[in-house]
């Protein structure tokens, strides 16, 4: 998955487990950037009576680097606070929840947003409401209204939303982790099985989303909204991170956390920690900030998956098998940005500091007709220029690792035909799988599936 349960330690701490991060020019408000970070992987919508919520003891943070050093110049922090309205019931709701202040909503959660610029901290808004989880037609009868009421303007042209959403990420998880099977050509695998269509393993699962929409000028180095794609100040780096206090104590009388906040999760580019970083170093990676990512560049330069594909698919990736040089294409895409002159009309280079961040060139306007394969599909407003909610990032990254982007730095290299034939889940075309859907406006990720209406996964096969 993009980063769902991607490292041993954080897989045991779901409320702090960052599953996906997105950063894009808002298509309906092109003078703003929308940044989204999701937490709590694989929420079964029916998972009551203690439905999902953010961690009151977790510090959530969205980070923006606007000078290329891999350190945050601007950050937005989110701290949550949960109340119990009726302490004498086990119920999440004691009747239909018809508004965010409805007394039937027994476990409301609010949050505080703080802006950090260097050493300056400024609380932007407190007691911002979150919607309940989507329970079902009796408990949350008009869910869209409930959720939309939680979209909050906090001044300075900034809007925020925090709450449950349908997971917009799609991946054929069961296939990829079954020894890197790439449906539909699993019949060519070293251990072949009959061809079948791809499956979105995240269908009908929810996540918890923190979304913020910020004027472009609040994030750039010079406080302006640039129009020149080739101006270095047009590129920002974005990642999300989560922190827990160092000490946790529990006994029969008390329970508390104390000490400095220390990072336990982070996420910039999808799949970086998941499929690039070796398992023994994943927890370490989660504790570091992007400025330290030079330590992991060797795994980008010689990715394990690129060596595995020719072995697992005998004779299918001969050109990839012969490619021994360091992958300068992947180093650029994931760690430094793509410099001017590589892709006509585009750059998102942030300098020599190797850092895993989503690099968004804010001077590239939203695409009138987006291509879910992003830059590989000729759409300069898509991944890896930031990341939109519908971008087909698994296919894009699998194709890149399989060699399809290597001609960007070596015109003589001919990618294997199979590299361009990889279509994770969707089987081709420019449409996300039918199991996902999105909203045309903030927060762009769709309303969550309700517990009552969710369908248990098929146990067949």
């Amino acid at each position: 998955m993009s980063s769902h349960r991607e490292a041993p330690e954080i897989s045991k701490d779901p409320v702090a487990d960052n599953t996906d991060t997105y950063a894009f020019i808002s298509p309906d408000k092109p003078d703003t950037v929308t940044i989204i970070s999701n937490y709590i992987p694989l929420e079964d919508p029916a998972g009551g009576p203690n439905f999902f919520e953010f961690g009151d003891d977790v510090l959530y943070r969205i980070n923006i680097d606007n000078n290329g050093d891999g350190k945050a110049d601007v950050a937005y922090e989110f701290r949550f606070d949960t109340k119990i309205r009726n302490r004498e019931t086990f119920l999440y709701n004691t009747g239909p929840i018809t508004s965010l202040s409805d007394p039937n909503f027994n476990r409301p959660q609010t949050y505080t947003v703080t802006e950090v610029r260097g050493h300056r901290r400024r609380q932007l808004k407190r007691d911002v409401p979150t919607p309940p989880c989507n329970i079902g037609p009796r408990s949350t009868p008009n869910y869209a209204n409930l959720a939309n009421a939680a979209i909050t303007s906090i001044g300075g042209g900034i809007s925020v939303f925090a709450g449950q959403r349908l997971d917009g990420f799609y991946v054929d998880l069961g296939s990829v982790f079954d020894l890197a099977v790439l449906r539909p050509f699993q019949n060519l695998h070293l251990i072949p099985t009959p061809p079948t269509a791809g499956v979105n393993a995240l269908r009908s699962f929810n996540v918890h989303t923190i979304a913020i929409q910020v004027p472009i000028g609040a994030l750039t180095r010079n406080g302006k909204s640039p129009s020149d794609v080739f101006d270095p100040k047009s590129v920002i780096g974005v990642w999300a991170s989560a922190y827990r206090q160092q000490g946790r104590f529990h006994d029969d009388k008390r329970s508390y956390s104390t000490g400095a906040f220390t990072q336990v999760s982070r996420l910039g580019n999808p799949l970086f920690n998941e499929v690039i970083v070796p398992m023994s170093r994943k927890d370490r990676w989660n504790r570091l900030e992007p400025s330290q990512d030079y330590q992991f560049s060797k795994y980008v330069a010689q990715p394990e998956l690129a060596r595995l594909l020719p072995v697992l698919y005998p004779g299918v990736f001969p050109n990839l098998a012969a490619l021994k040089a360091d992958r300068a294409d992947l180093l650029a895409i994931l760690l430094t940005g793509i410099p001017t002159g590589v892709i006509p009309g585009f750059q998102n280079f942030t300098g020599p500091t190797q850092a895993d961040v989503l690099r968004l060139n804010v001077a590239v306007p939203p695409a009138a007709t987006p291509n879910i394969n992003g830059i590989l599909g000729g759409d300069l407003a898509g991944f890896p220029n930031g990341r939109r909610v519908f971008d087909n990032v698994v296919t894009i990254e699998l194709r890149a690792i399989a060699g399809q982007t290597y001609p960007l730095i070596d015109k003589t290299f001919v990618p294997d035909g199979a590299a361009g034939a990889i279509f994770d889940v969707i089987g081709g075309g420019n449409t996300p799988p039918p199991s996902v859907s999105y909203l045309p406006s903030f927060p762009y990720l769709d309303h969550p599936v309700s517990g009552y209406n969710s369908v248990p996964l098929d146990r067949s096969a």
Binding site: Y243, G247, F249, R254, Y256, S257, G259, F261, Q263, E289
Partner: protein, 102 residues
């Protein structure tokens, strides 16, 4: 770095859940390690705090170095004090004291 004096540390920890005999404290160095993110005030939550300064935790990761990590509020304070470590280990009933090894 936050300039925490050793006296400040002792005042903050006095009466806390972990008993540290004041007489045991020799001349040590105290430094504060800033959190990786800026600290968030009031982030400690507790159903039953034991002191008016909030709960305080001590961690001794490496007794031989005489280093005590003190967690308080949203800060970590590092104290280098072999005598303090020895007294804590003694109070904890540790069969090995740092002073015997040092």
């Amino acid at each position: 770095m936050k300039d925490w004096s050793r006296r400040h540390v002792l005042r903050a920890t006095a009466g806390a859940a972990i008993a540290v005999p004041m007489a045991a404290l020799g001349g040590g160095l105290a430094t504060a390690r800033e959190p990786e993110t800026a600290a968030v005030n009031g982030s400690v939550w507790s159903e039953d705090t034991t002191t008016d300064v909030g709960p305080v935790m001590f961690c001794i990761h490496d007794a031989q170095r005489g280093e005590v990590s003190i967690l308080h509020g949203t800060n970590e304070v590092i104290v280098h004090d072999r005598q303090l470590v020895a007294r804590i280990l003694q109070a904890a009933g540790s069969p090995t004291s740092v002073s015997q090894k040092a």
